[in-house]
Symmetry: C2
Subunit: 236 residues, 2 copies
Amino acid sequence: MATYEYKVRPTDVDFTGAQSMLSLCDSILLSAGEDADAGGFGVRNLDEHNATWVLSRFAVERDRAPVSGEHFKITTWVQSLDRIFTTRHHMVFDARDHLMARATTLWSIIDLASRKPVPLEWLENCAVEPHDIPGMNRPLRLRPLPSYECEERRTVRYSDIDFNGHTNTVRYIGWMLDMTAPERFRSHTIKRLDANFIKESVLGQSLTLKLDRCRDTDSFIVMGATPVMLASMEWR
Amino acid sequence: MATYEYKVRPTDVDFTGAQSMLSLCDSILLSAGEDADAGGFGVRNLDEHNATWVLSRFAVERDRAPVSGEHFKITTWVQSLDRIFTTRHHMVFDARDHLMARATTLWSIIDLASRKPVPLEWLENCAVEPHDIPGMNRPLRLRPLPSYECEERRTVRYSDIDFNGHTNTVRYIGWMLDMTAPERFRSHTIKRLDANFIKESVLGQSLTLKLDRCRDTDSFIVMGATPVMLASMEWR
């Protein structure tokens, strides 16, 4: 278990003046990367074995969003390792050690050439701390809805992709928020976000984004020829 | 003159494996914000006077792009204050103190209600260090071209805007790079980027983006009813 410190930068807040869900997700993924690097099984270590980390699912719950300039920290640990998946937990605290958010991320390691999962053998020295986050449910397994209210097309472009040439995880969430009516950010806050990543999408690929709103939960899907990712967002 | 330290995060690099121009611009603007905060004339200080900083122009020149995990630092100082504009310089060094990039940013302060520039009276205690960056030209004053090669429409959405409800400065540069042929990032690097910010654009606003390529320099304009911003990018 280790703790990493961050600060909310001016570009991390949205028009409500508080840290956006996009920035929170970014920080959570960053804490996973920092902790994997510290353990000797980070992206650069795996790269030497022609392998890389792939995020498979995540769930984030948030009670309070910090404002610009606030310091915060993320305590993270690997909770379990099975043959294919690593489960990692994250607890986000403010400067006074009040819990602001919590998250669970599920990762696998894929071979860079075959894009297939490989057994987690590089993690044999990884410390596993089996306790869960109290009161938080695991990332949901999401399924496509029969139909969605809104739909739009999008082509993956330069600023959407990351170092491995695929659409950045957090960018998908940004697309979901872009399809949300802006007034919703003034009247509601995001309570919980779940995401499942099914298939990578690449530069130049044409995607269909679909959003559906049902009471307090929005459902989102990104489609290529087949589903690319799904998300659900619960508002309060 | 003060120096601020940063690290290239995994999300700061583009598909070439090096820090993107977007992340470099973000860091340069962040160093301006940190230094203004330290001097007591940051965004939060001005907010108490119902005023805010507005970036009017900038120029960035880059010799080398750092890779993920590299530490770097930005030394910044206010070079001049006139009635309306503050000129700030930025020098970007790697961990071995080699100069990697340099930038000049031109700022004004506007009244939050009238959106008009106000005299820079809050800066009377601001330390001005009049030396320039050796060998670097000032940000260019850019003018619209008679015509542009490519054109597309874009609506300003949630993830495009920042805390004050306007399109984020760096987002415009992202739109420019998104219109650039991806192969260009493999065969060339960006030598110099100039940008002029004419008018703010807001959530829901419909914009026209136009790009023109002429030898080694690309010209870009964002149009609402009138020009919103212009940029030019020199490749090597």
